[in-house]
């Protein structure tokens, strides 16, 4: 099973939405750690704890952006991506971004 620990494998300081905001952006995270798994239909565990925190733009672009770029359904996304955190509100927030991105993409 593939496991990505955001703090260990990406950055302890996630920030920004688009890649042009910097190397720790949500778009960069999605491109490196989510989209490849979604495209290859491989399971991945994302460990969210250990960073200094997540802004909304980072989360929306990382997770919602990955959904938009792969046109995956929310149900299929969560079959492949398992989120782990001690903070249920963080997981819930990401869940909402994924569902909304899938819903918007299907319009």
């Amino acid at each position: 099973m593939n496991t990505v620990n955001v703090a260990r494998d990406f950055t302890r300081y996630p920030s920004g939405r688009k890649i042009d905001s910097g190397p720790t952006s949500g778009e960069e995270f999605g491109a490196r750690f989510l989209i490849p798994h979604l495209n290859s239909q491989s399971h991945v565990v994302i460990e969210l704890d250990g960073t200094i925190g997540y802004g909304s733009s980072f989360l929306e672009e990382a997770f919602g952006g990955a959904v938009r770029k792969t046109a995956i359904t929310a149900a299929d996304f969560f079959k492949l991506v398992e989120l782990r955190s001690k903070d249920p509100a963080l997981v819930q927030e990401i869940h909402e971004y994924v569902v909304e991105a899938a819903r918007s993409g299907s319009k």
Binding site: S21, S56, A101
Partner: protein
């Protein structure tokens, strides 16, 4: 409390992200041409176990960015609550309440909400947002669940936006 739980990072990073994403999506009314490579300025300070952070930009301000995204129905609904207030203050409060600060894409613009969320995750503190001729002050007292909100008019137009936090560090030290 750990620094991760304080919410400082999401609030500050989102405020900067907001600037780079959309604070400069239009021409300033005064035509002032600032240094194009510098879009924002940040000040941080720790004094007497209190952390201060301020982010400033010289963009178009809340009053012009908010109407780009907030549905008319929401603006109408909230208008009566903000009646009589300075129009820039109204825009700031509207953005905070709606959780949107700019851009037409539904997936964007939660950054204003993050600025306010710092107070709740930090469990106390103050947030001040000043934009052009208005400013709104949020103060969350220790033990309170919702911040006190006050809005004011400035006697001058600062032609930009300042987001400022005052966060006691007692629980972090």
């Amino acid at each position: 409390m750990k620094i991760e739980e304080s919410g400082i990072w999401p609030g500050v990073s989102e405020a900067i992200n907001n600037v780079t994403d959309h604070a400069y999506k239009g021409e300033r009314a005064d035509g002032f041409q600032h240094a194009s490579d510098t879009k924002w300025w940040m000040f941080t300070h720790v004094k007497d176990d209190v952390f201060y952070a301020a982010i400033c930009d010289l963009g178009i301000g809340y009053r012009r960015t908010v109407p780009m995204t907030i549905p008319e129905s929401f603006q109408t609904m909230i208008a009566s609550l903000l009646m009589g207030k300075n129009p820039d203050s109204r825009a700031i409060e509207t953005a905070m309440k709606y959780g949107v600060s700019s851009t037409k894409q539904e997936n964007r613009g939660k950054g204003s909400r993050d600025a306010l969320a710092v107070l709740k995750s930090h469990r106390q503190g103050e947030l001040l947002v000043a934009s052009n001729t208005g400013w709104v002050h949020y103060k969350l007292k220790k033990g309170a669940t919702e911040p006190d909100v006050s809005s004011y008019s400035l006697k001058v137009d600062i032609m930009g936006t300042i987001v400022w936090w005052r966060l006691p560090l007692g629980d972090l030290l």
